[in-house]
């Protein structure tokens, strides 16, 4: 059940330049699934809309959510000033999440690029399969990379070559001669396009998590659509709502 409610800040720290790691105490944690997101509200009448931010992790007691976000504008800049015991309004939990059953017992690639790395963490925790975790970063600020180690083999690519493979996530896959039956990915659009093509060439399924500017987050405003191969059963046109039909889509079904 979706709801708007007030969460309590448990902790926040900057884990890389302009990248923040925020733990929120909220009852919504009990229903959170890997790949879902929440809307976080700035406390300012000039910036009204909730900011869609993916769920990075849920604590063991399912009483708190972790979000890791980059400062992208006024709203996220405001969030970065939140301190322990501050209150913040959130809307959630939103979106479909990654399909866990599909990967059970299979060789899985879990691919995160840049600020697309965070939602892969809770997925790595919950997915029961043989996991190769492939993380792409711009430089040597490998935020969250250490958190992944206990859930699978971690491979890193950096654009500047300061850590791991110099290049992108697909370069790491090639360099290490990795293979998979199924892919889960979240990251910038050029990476997702490359992942879609990689999967299509090998005839394997890829689930990719998309983002788009949103207003409502609950499927009403039709602001955040992605073009689809087939007519969508809800919209009856070749558009799906990223907030509710997604954000996770079978790469084959979306035209990106």
């Amino acid at each position: 059940m979706k709801e708007k409610s007030t969460a309590k800040v448990l902790s926040q720290q900057e884990i890389a330049p302009r990248i923040y790691d925020l733990w929120l105490e909220t009852a919504l944690a009990a229903q959170a699934k890997p790949g879902q997101f929440i809307g976080v509200y700035p406390g300012n009448a000039a910036t009204l809309l909730p900011r869609p931010i993916s769920i990075c992790e849920v604590n063991g007691e399912r009483t708190a959510l972790r979000i890791v976000y980059r400062i992208a504008g006024k709203g996220t800049a405001e969030f970065s000033a939140l301190r322990e015991n501050d209150r913040v309004d959130i809307l959630g939990t939103l979106g479909n999440g990654f399909p866990l059953e599909e990967g059970r017992g299979k060789h899985c690639f879990l691919i995160g690029g840049g600020i697309g790395v965070p939602p892969i963490l809770q997925l790595a925790k919950k997915l029961e399969g043989d996991k190769a975790i492939i993380l792409g970063y711009r430089d040597g600020n490998l935020f969250l990379a250490e958190d992944f180690a206990k859930y699978g083999q971690v491979y890193v690519a950096t654009e500047d070559g300061s850590e791991g493979t110099k290049g992108n996530v697909l370069d790491t896959i090639a360099e290490n001669a990795l293979e998979a039956d199924i892919i889960y990915a979240c990251g910038p659009m050029p990476m997702l396009r490359a992942v879609k093509q990689y999967a299509a060439e090998r005839g394997i399924r890829a689930y990719i998590s998309l983002e788009e500017h949103m207003a409502c987050g609950v499927g009403a405003c039709l602001g955040c659509v992605v073009k689809t191969k087939e007519a969508n059963p809800h919209s009856h046109v070749h558009n799906a709502r990223i907030c509710t039909d997604g954000p996770v889509f079978d790469a084959e079904e979306v035209d990106i």
Partner: protein, 301 residues
């Protein structure tokens, strides 16, 4: 205390409804609010055939509001009749269907398909969407075009028709009078104000459509002024909207001359806004010993 209002012979249990396009067809928000509490649900605009809408980005935030250029994406009237109307019929609220079109024939086709649907209490005719290039707004920005299409729809419609007016005109009173003269049963206003936002870092438009319709609390004073002017130009009931966030905002519109009000963009900000506004109106009536909400309509001095 009586919160009932009457729009063209249709009694609403209270004056609070939803702004077209901000509430889907009710389904998406039924998880948050009890639709039985609402005076009416105004649906997302529906055309004779499915419309794919505009490319993304379709929405952008602006100071105290937002811009949208959805382009009236909708599944078409046939799906709407099979899926959305039966859903809304489960609730004790009035159903107002918003209709969009690119040509006169488009509008009339939808109007005719709704004629045998008694569950639909009122039709709201969107002649004022700023985001659809062909037609649509052309009907809403010239008094003679508005007069013509209102008259054509009035002839075919079984239900009372609400003409939704554009604020992007020189003289709103003239537009209101044209709709009234052609047989409109009620007016609603304002639709969004045409706006633009530029991303200075990328040096590009924030919306793929370049321009979009502005809504949200920042437009409220403009909307109150136009509702006042329209309500004083005609005898028709007026549904006021534009940036309503609280019961105080809603009362302001009613005092300006609105018989009912719609909550639009604020549904996106707080999905419980409609219900909070209804409760707040009741509180206001208690505080000021208002027995009948209709006593407040146009009561500004």
């Amino acid at each position: 205390m009586d919160t009932q209002v009457n729009i063209a012979g249709v009694t609403l249990k209270n004056p609070v409804m939803t702004g077209s396009g901000t509430f889907g067809s009710g389904m998406e928000y039924s998880e948050f609010v009890d639709l039985n509490c609402l005076g009416a649900v105004v649906t997302k605009g529906v055309a004779n055939v499915p419309w794919p809408g505009n490319p993304t980005p379709r929405v952008a935030e602006v100071y105290g509001g937002m811009l949208n250029a959805i382009g009236l994406q909708n599944p078409g009237i046939d799906v709407f009749l099979e899926r959305d109307i039966p859903f809304l019929k489960q609730y004790d609220t009035k159903i107002i269907v918003n209709i969009c079109g690119k040509t006169e024939e488009d509008y009339l086709e939808v109007v005719e398909k709704l004629a045998d649907e008694p569950a639909v209490a009122l039709l709201e005719i969107n002649v004022s969407c700023p985001n659809v290039k062909e037609g649509a707004i052309a009907f809403g920005q010239k008094a003679d075009a508005l007069y013509h299409i209102t008259g054509q729809i009035r002839k075919k419609a079984r239900q009372p028709i609400i003409m939704k007016l554009s604020p992007n005109v020189t003289d709103i009173a003239e537009m209101a009078r044209a709709a009234e003269a052609a047989g409109a049963d009620a007016l609603s206003l304002i639709n969004t104000l045409t706006g633009m936002k530029i991303d200075i870092h990328r040096r590009c438009f924030a919306l793929a459509n370049k321009t979009g319709g502005m809504s949200g609390p920042a437009i409220k004073p403009v909307a109150v002024r136009m509702v006042y002017q329209a309500a004083h130009a005609v005898k028709l009931p007026v549904i006021g909207m534009g940036g309503i966030a609280t019961a105080e905002d809603a009362i302001e519109f009613i005092l300006a001359g609105a018989t009912a009000v719609s909550i639009g963009a604020m549904n996106f900000v707080d999905p419980y806004t409609t219900v909070k506004v209804i409760r707040g109106i009741e509180d206001y009536m208690r505080t000021y010993n208002v027995e009948n909400i209709t006593d407040l309509i146009g009561a500004v001095e």
